[in-house]
Structures are given as C-alpha cells and as structure tokens.
C-alpha cells in the first residue's frame, strides 16, 4: 500500500488500512452533504477526522503518505483523477494537512483546535484551487460562508478525533 511499508509493522499496516477505509467511507458520506456548500467539488472535510488521528499516531511523514493514498483513491473512486472536483479537494486537503501538521508539531492546540484549523485551511485551500481553475477572484466571495461552515465541521472532526484517540490510548495500541 505504501512505499515505506518496510518501516511499518504488520499491526501498523492493518491499522492504517482500516483507517484508510474509514476515511474513504467518510469522504463518500460527505459527498451527499456537498449541497451544503455553494462551491462545486468542495466538501466539508469530515474525512479530516481520520487524517487527524493518523497525524497524532504516526506523525506528519506517514500522515502525508496516508493522505496521498486517500486522495488518490477517492480520485479514482469518485471524482476522477485531475477533474476540477479532484483538484479542489486536493487543494483543500494539502493546505489543511500542512496547517494541521504544524499545529500538531508545535502543540498549539488540542485535537479540537487542530480540527478547526484543518477545516478552515481546508476551505481556504478549496477556494484557492477553484480560483486558480476558474481564474477569477470572484469566488473569494464564498469565503465568509465557508469559514463559518468550517467552525462546526472543525469542532466536529476535532472532537471525534480526540474521542477516538482517547479510546485508543485506554484500550492500548492493539485496539
């Protein structure tokens, strides 16, 4: 699954596989919520929950690989590679990942803050990508709505990720 799998134990590979499946399922689920957003191809970023979990468990390096496989798979499964929707998703995911990785590294926030930061940057990245594709700054007018929507989704993903990470700690690494 991953090029660096040599460094991963079987347990880790299995765990990442399950998480990847969960991420893709969440990603699929939120396509049905896409109508909430006025921006074509944009999504809420619920799959960020899993990204946060992986980021905390495996660090930014493996987290990036995990995210890349998720994006690639969702691209292949739903949007089609390099379609506008795919690119917009990619823009959101990449920007939010960089922000969350930084936030996690410097311990600025709890998972909730990370979720909020991720959601905010996710939406900014989506708009930026859409602006690049359409080559019009008019799309920035979606920014207020998207920032506002990012607050509940960020709280939700951050809370969910925190909840799972707590449970995993309680039950030990073999959960």
């Amino acid at each position: 699954m991953m090029p660096s799998s040599a460094k991963l134990s079987i347990h880790e590979i299995t765990q990442l596989g399950v998480l990847l499946a969960a991420a893709i399922a969440l990603r699929l689920a939120e396509t049905s919520l896409a109508w909430l957003l006025p921006l074509p191809g944009a999504h809420l970023g619920l799959a960020n929950t899993v990204t946060i979990i992986v980021l905390y468990l495996y660090g930014p390096g493996k987290g990036a690989l995990f995210l890349a496989s998720r994006i690639l798979l969702t691209g292949l499964l739903f949007t089609g590679l390099l379609s506008p929707g795919f690119l917009i998703g990619l823009g959101g995911a990449a920007l939010s990942f960089v922000g969350m990785a930084l936030g996690e590294k410097h311990h600025w926030f709890s998972t909730i803050g990370i979720g909020l930061l991720g959601a905010f940057l996710h939406n900014c990245g989506q708009i930026l990508m859409a602006v690049v594709i359409m080559r019009t700054p008019a799309l920035f007018s979606y920014l207020p709505v998207l920032i506002a929507i990012g607050i509940p989704t960020g709280l939700f993903t951050g809370f969910l990720a925190g909840f799972f990470l707590e449970r995993m700690k309680e039950k030990g690494p073999a959960a």
Binding site: W35, L39, P40, S110, L116, L117, S141, G150, I151
Partner: protein, 125 residues
C-alpha cells in the same frame, strides 16, 4: 479543550465576520447587471432592469449545453451537463456580488451593479 482552541474559534469568527463584511452582497442595488462568463470571456451582460420576463440563455459548454435563466430579480442555472450539478442546486442569485460557478464547465454567473462599473476609464480633454 484548551485555551488556544477558544482563541482559534474567536479568530475564525472574526475572520468569518470580517470577510462577510468585505464580500457582503448588496440587495438594495437597482442597476443590477448579470454577467455570464466562460473561460474568463464575457459571453453576455444583461441589465436586469430592462428584462421584462424570464429569459433563457443557452451557453454551449464542453460537455453540451448549459441553460441559464434570468429575470428582473436575478439569474439561475436551469440545467447543466456537469456531473455534480452544484450550479443547478445553488438556485437563484439575486444580489449584487453573488456568484454561481460551474467549475467543470468553467462557467461563471455573477451579479454586479452598474454603479460599480460607472467610473470613467478615461476623460477626453
């Protein structure tokens, strides 16, 4: 939840409010102009106050035809060959500053006000 998390929420709320203020749309505008663009090229500029009844505009796009309808109040995308149909679901835009974007077909429908366009490009002296 930590203190920083609250700060972040606050910052985001301020950003949302600030950007809303920056991009707020003007519903009181009377000289609304509907602009339809494809690939950055302006296809149509319609002064909405001159429109008497709902009019359809067919825009040839990459995967077929997009149908845009407009009346005195504003405009909407009636149908589009794009896969996600977000532009159709977005419904009608009626305020100056609002935008419907169909990214797959690279079509942009915006409302501006004639007042905003009224600055002179040059004065002949």
């Amino acid at each position: 939840m930590r203190k920083n998390d609250f700060w972040l929420i606050l910052v985001l709320l301020v950003l949302a409010a600030g950007s809303w203020f920056l991009f707020r749309s003007d519903s009181t505008a009377r000289d609304k102009v509907l602009v339809v663009r494809k690939d950055q090229q302006v296809l149509q500029r319609i002064e909405l106050k001159k429109v008497t009844s709902e009019t359809k505009l067919i825009v040839p796009v990459e995967h077929g035809e997009m149908v845009i309808a407009y009346d005195r109040e504003g405009g909407r995308v009636l149908s589009s060959p794009c896969p996600d149909q977000v532009c159709v679901h977005q419904g009608k835009i009626t305020r100056s500053g609002q935008t419907i974007a169909c990214v797959p077909e690279k079509v942009l429908v915006t409302i501006t006000t004639a007042a905003k366009e009224n600055d002179h490009d040059a004065i002949l002296r």
